[in-house]
Amino acid sequence: MEEPTVKGTVTPLSSMFPVEDAQRAAKRVVDALSEKQQELNQVKEFIADNTNLIKLVQKLPEELHHDIMVPFGKAAFFPGRLIHTNEFLVLLGEGYYADRTSKQTVEILNRRGKALESQVNSIKAMMQDFQAEASFFDATANEAAEGLVEIREEYVEENSSERVSDPGSIKQRLSSFSEADNTNVEDEEYARMMSRLDELEQEELAAEVDNEVDEDNQNQGNTAKSDKEIYEDEEYARMMSRLDKFEQEELAAEIDNEVDEDNQGNAAKSDKESDEDERAITDFDQFSDQIAPDHNFRHSEELRSSKRPQRTKDKKTSEDFSNNFCRQQDLSDQSCTDLTVQAVTRDIVKSSNAEKASMLPEVKEKDGAVPSSKNEVSAQSSKPGIDNSEVSAQTSKPGFDIQKAFTGSVVEHTPKIQTSTWEQAEISSKPSKPVSRFKMQRR
């Protein structure tokens, strides 16, 4: 402060950013911008083409054939007509083509349109960046041309004259101060850490106590750690009863095994069937086809006639939604009952999907009443009622005593548990949802 020296520096902006350079940079950015604009126009053209094509594809199947000029090379045409107006051959990429119907083609084209839209968005974002850049360069060029100068000055704190006069002592002070501060901070931190440690230890202790209670659950492969202790006792009791039941069932199943190995899978499935969707049922049809062809016709007839008047799938899903709300709660006390079932059923369901694909034609042949298209099969059999016990009772009709005993035990479950098993099953075995065959194969 004593000597009035020049503390800052003054640099004309034009010396740092020469006008021509700035202008050149701006021009380059503008060029890039116009390039992007062209790209954008091209993509927009694609989008227009795509929407036109979608309209065309939707319109073509309205008539059996259309008179057109069939292109023959690029310079010649034949008078001809489009035939098979609901069959399209669509390029999937990499030289792979797929035969699709009009509707499916429209779906593919819609997906392509979405991809194009996202491309447009990204290009637009890039263009915005370029625009900002261009305006910045322009502004810099203008400022440089106007002769703007940049003034830089070191910032010096002037609160106390002492600091300015004796920077050495400040340094010392600063360091000592910071040291003291550091120790303070360390102490505090240490205390906090220790208390946290204690907390964690206590938690662990509590968890161990819990574990002892839970141990039996874990023996059964129940990994659910319910923090709701209210459920625990109840859960345990129910679990034990379930365990007993399952032991009996397993015993029965083992006896059954000796009779027919397939039976067991089916028995386990019939438990699941009650809350699973149609697949298991159709599968059961097939199964009974093989084992008891005599029963088959009667059984499937009964199945269908009894199911039709029952609630439709929509209603079922709506109820599922309502179940979803209590699902979180349920999960903790269900999992003990579910998991044992799941372990068996999961594999079975998976295999049964594959089985179904291969066996469906067989069903068609044997059971003339089954509608011809597979979609219809699933649609019809997807009408299973809410009344699980009824379904399971039905499915157990083809006379196998052991099965009957088994499904009988299923009927005994409270409905709550059953719906939950259904949900669990749904989560665990997605392929058993009514998906198109195409998707199934792709999995």
């Binding site: 094509l53 594809v57 057109i68 310079a75 034949f78 001809g80 007509r81 489009l82 051959l89 669509v90």
Partner: protein, 162 residues
């Protein structure tokens, strides 16, 4: 070359300097774009020639196999294809240019195509000549610039050329 002219500015008068610049501009702004467009035009004609030779081959194929009806796939755009049926292949509509198509029989079509090919070959010849002349002009202007700059080494090359 301009740099070099700058280097020897002491010996050169302004007039020469300007002249060289004019020549260079003529090459860059006039001759080179001309050359590019001529090459593009010739490529287009090449494409046409290929189309017609393909067509001729196809028609000859049809003739050889005496195909009377045809089933093909039509591209509806974006690589979506549909089957198309041609009940009668005897009559073919050939593009004769300017958006006109003429109904031909096979022999008529082949006759037309051979004439068309002849004409396209002539056009290609023409364009090739044009391109060669533009290239020659570019070379000539460059030689003129060299002469103006009085480059001895280049001159010797130039003399050996002409």
């Amino acid at each position: 070359m301009l740099e070099f002219s700058g280097f020897r500015r002491n010996e050169m008068d302004n007039y020469r300097q300007e002249k060289v610049q004019k020549f260079e501009e003529f090459v860059d702004r006039r001759l080179k774009p001309d050359l590019v467009s001529a090459i593009a035009e010739r490529d287009k004609v090449f494409e046409q020639q290929k189309i017609f030779s393909d067509l001729r081959r196809n028609i000859e194929n049809l003739e050889k196999n005496s195909v009377t009806s045809l089933r093909t796939m039509v591209n509806l755009g974006s690589e979506v294809y549909m089957q198309a049926d041609v009940p009668d292949t005897q009559r073919i509509f050939v593009d004769i240019g300017l958006g006109f198509h003429v109904e031909f029989t096979w022999s008529e079509a082949l006759n037309f195509i051979s004439q068309r090919e002849e004409r396209l070959a002539g056009q290609i010849e023409e364009y090739t000549r044009l391109i060669a002349s533009i290239k020659a002009q570019i070379k000539l202007v460059y030689e003129g610039i060299r002469e103006l700059l009085q480059l001895p080494a280049e001159r010797s090359v130039q003399e050996s050329f002409f």
